[in-house]
Each structure stands twice: as C-alpha cells, then as structure tokens.
C-alpha cells in the first residue's frame, strides 16, 4: 500500500523535528543562562541589555522571528541553511523564556534561606551552590518541561518558512501521495507522543528530585 511505502519520509521529518528541538533547546539554555547572568549582574549596561532582550524577544511572535531569520538574514549577508536559520530563531526566542524561568526559579527560593546562608558565613558562591541553586533547580524542573514542550510545538512553525521537519513532511506527503487525513493523523499522534512523553519524563524527574519534607 502507498501509505506504508512513504512512511519513511514521515520518519525523516520526525527525526528532523527532533534535531531542531535538540539544537534549539540547547541553544536556548545557553542564551537564556547568559542573559540571566546579565540581568542579575551588578553592571548596569549588562542589566539593561538583559532586560531589553527579554522584553523584546518575549513580545515578538516566533513566526515573525523565523521569517526574519530565514528570509531577512541573507539580505545582510548572513547566509545560513534553513535548518540553522530556524534553530537560531527558536534559540533566540526560547532563550528569553529560559532566562525568565531561571530567574523566577531563583526568586522562588524563600528569602530566609538566603539570609540564613549569609548569616552562617557562606560567601556568595557558597550560598548559591549549597543553598539557593539546589532548591531553585528542583523548582525549575516543571517550568523547563513546559519550555521544552513549547519548543517542540514551536518547531512546526518551521514548515511555514520551508524548513524540513515533521509538519512540512506531512504537508508534502499529503499533497503528493493523497489521503491527507491519514498523514495529518499520523503527525498528530507523533506530536502527542513527544509532548506527553516529555511531560511524563519531566514529571518523573520532578518527583525524583523533590525534597521529602
């Protein structure tokens, strides 16, 4: 049957989606951490830059950013492959979200914890390492899961700018092979498996690392 002989193309699209997710998410972690460091540093221009970055990239829709990266950058001489262009767009966009996740995680640590750490003579690095970050990271697992799922769902926008991934492969297959509802059904199942699967994994991690009080 036709559908089975073309299922491999859908698989290629699926793998491409996973690649974009991986590169985009890791890039977002790097960018978000750097911006978060800028935002809490005592250096005023860096703080202003961090604030501006977060406000700007949280306010602009992802599709606009992807269009700018894919169709805009070549005009100023930055020619990237579609894959790297969309990865750049996703990393820039999700970086702002990662920065806010990190910050709200650190802010969620009860105030007295820091004061207690400072009171028993911990330095800045020690109180961060032994008191603040262990608690902050635990609280951040679920929010990071949501960021990850957001990145997964965001990759489907890459189809709108012509990057090869699952949604794009689905569109091509449904136009060339026919029986579109079957293909869209398959793609939907794959997306649901990835998002619910990663939600389950992040939930498991969260339960594993949670403090037993």
């Amino acid at each position: 049957m036709d559908i089975f002989s073309h299922a491999g193309d859908l698989g290629h699209g699926f793998v491409a989606t996973l690649e974009i997710v991986l590169v985009g998410f890791v890039g977002a972690l790097v960018i978000g951490t750097l911006i978060a460091i800028c935002r809490i540093s005592p250096v005023l221009p860096l703080r202003a830059f961090g604030w501006f970055y977060v406000e700007a990239f949280r306010a602009v829709p992802l599709l606009v950013l992807l269009v700018l990266c894919v169709f805009g950058l070549p005009w100023i001489g930055i020619v990237l492959s579609p894959f790297w262009s969309v990865c750049l767009g996703i990393a820039l966009y999700a970086g702002a979200v990662v920065c806010e996740t990190l910050r709200s995680g650190i802010r969620g640590v009860p105030f007295g914890q820091v004061e207690a750490a400072r009171a028993i003579g911990f330095t800045f690095g020690q109180s961060l390492r032994h008191v603040v970050l262990p608690q902050a990271f635990r609280a951040m697992v679920q929010p990071f899961g949501n960021v990850f799922i957001g990145v997964v769902l965001g990759t489907s926008l890459c189809a709108a700018v012509g990057a090869q991934e699952l949604t794009y492969a689905t569109k091509v297959l449904s136009l060339s092979v026919g029986s579109p509802l079957v293909w869209y059904g398959c793609a939907a199942v794959l997306y649901i498996v990835v998002t619910l699967g990663s939600a389950y994994i992040f939930g498991m991690i969260e339960r594993r690392v949670r403090f037993q009080r």
Partner: protein
C-alpha cells in the same frame, strides 16, 4: 529589585566598586561594538540606504501595515471571545465528578494542548476542503487557534480553581447551593480576578498565533508585511517594522498585566510572600 538577588551579594567595597566601573566601561564598549557590527552588516549590503527605509515614513504604506494590525487585533479578539469562555467551561467539565463529562474534557485538553496550531491550520487549509469542509479564510485561521487556545486556557482556569481554598466550595454547598450555582456564584468570580494577569498572557499567545495568517493568506499584520516587503523591495526592513509593531502591542498588554498584578498584590488574600518587607529589613540592617 525584589527577590533573593540583592542579599546574595555583599555591598561592594572600594575594590568591588572599581571592578564594577571597569566592567561597566567594558560592557558599554562590547555592546556598542555589537551594534556597530550589526549596522555595518546592513550598510555593506546596502540595507541602510535611505530609499530602503523611506517607504515607512509615508502614510499610505504605514496605513497598509496598520490595516494589517487591525485585522490581527480582530482575529485575536474573535479567538479571545470564543476560547476564554470555552476554556472556563472545559476546566469546569474536567473537574466534574461525572465521568461522562470529565473524560471528554480531559481528552480535549490533553490532545489539543499537545498539538501545534500550525498542524491544525494545515488540516483546515489543505486536508478538510477536499472532504467538503471549506471554511471562510478567517475561520481557517480562527478555528485552529481557538482549539489549541481553549485547551491551554482551560488548564489555566483549572489551576486557578484548584488553588482556591476548598472551604469556598464547601461553604457554598453548606448554604444549599447546587454544583452549578456554587461554580457560577462563588468559585468563578473569585478565580477570574487573580487569574486576570495570566489570562492576559494567554491573550498575547492568541495574538502570536494569529501570525499564522501568513500561512492561510489572511491579511493580518505578518501577511501584510510579506506583501508589502515584496512590493517595496525591502523585505528585511518591512519585517523589522512588523516585528516592532508586534513588540509594541504585546509590550503594552504585558504592562497592563503587571499593573493588574500589582494592584491585586495589595489585596491581602493574594499576597503570597512578603518579599518587599524582607528586602526593607535587610536594607535597614545594613
């Protein structure tokens, strides 16, 4: 500055202050260099030329973009009007004790929260017309956004309802209210107010989703930008202006959300942690 950040540092001494001054100078230089590099990239490829930017000072061109913004806002409001009440109803359904009500609600939220809007857009754009469901263009855009949007908003409502004290529901039952009455008269009014900032964030998400008009060729802001960019032969400039317009609108909504949040912070029941007072204490101790 609120939160733990200020206590983490010692107040800088003379050496620390000198280091901060040096770092400030270096940061300014680095940021300026970055900006100059970006401008140079534009300049070298002729994208800073005045005639590439002049169209955006002319009213007919800008009014074309603002017209796109009008349709963006129209679609966003349409989706808001549909998916906010739908989200509230689905959340109540999910919390219902009747299986035949709660299971469909659970299935709906879990499925449509996990699907990208883009995929649904393509379904309504390419897969459904051949089998006889050919909606007008605006609905091809709005229906998928409402499907995913109401699932997300339902989860926001559910979290809000669960966060409310159980005593409220029990009190409503105790004075003889039925389930529907308790929800309508006691629970929802209390839930909506603290949720307002979060619902405004969802409004921003709906507005961001409306950029998918680019795919269904509905003339909202991004698609207008695409047409205009091809027409004036200045795509990157047009998309930058479009991005700036989106930023302004979304930034204003975010400000509004913060404003509401701050006003509500004064109400005692929504105050979670008295962070500001603690900051004041440590400041006084220094």
């Amino acid at each position: 500055m609120r939160g733990v950040e200020p206590v983490l540092f010692d107040r800088p001494g003379p050496r620390g202050r000198r280091r901060i001054v040096v770092a400030t100078v270096l940061a300014v230089l680095a940021l300026a260099a970055l900006l100059l590099l970006a401008l140079r990239q534009f300049d070298v490829h002729g994208q800073l030329a005045a005639d590439k930017w002049r169209p955006f000072t002319q009213w007919p061109i800008m009014s074309f973009l603002l017209n796109g913004l009008k349709y963006t806002i129209l679609v966003t409001l349409l989706c808001t009007v549909i998916s906010m009440p739908a989200g509230a109803v689905i959340a109540l359904g999910r919390l219902s004790r009747r299986r035949w009500v709660s299971w469909p609600a659970v299935a709906f939220t879990e499925i449509f929260r996990s699907l990208p809007t883009m995929l649904l857009i393509l379904v309504f754009l390419l897969a459904l017309p051949p089998v006889g469901l050919n909606l007008p263009t605006i609905w091809k855009l709005a229906v998928p956004i409402c499907l995913t949007g109401s699932a997300t908003i339902a989860e926001v409502f559910r979290a809000g309802i669960l966060a409310l004290e159980r005593g409220q529901t029990e009190a409503a039952y105790a004075i003889g209210m039925r389930y529907g009455q308790a929800m309508r008269l006691v629970i929802l009014p209390q839930v909506i107010r603290p949720l307002l900032p979060l619902l405004l964030v969802q409004l921003i998400n709906l507005l961001k989703d409306s950029t998918l008009g680019y795919v269904v060729t509905y003339s909202e802001l991004l698609y207008s930008g695409k047409i205009l960019g091809e027409y004036v032969h200045a795509p990157i400039q047009t998309y930058l202006v479009v991005a700036a317009l989106y930023m302004i609108v979304n930034w204003l909504i975010t400000r509004l959300a913060h404003l509401i949040e701050r006003r509500q912070g004064r109400l005692p029941r929504f105050r979670t942690r008295r962070v500001d007072d603690a900051t004041a204490v440590t400041a006084a101790a220094e």
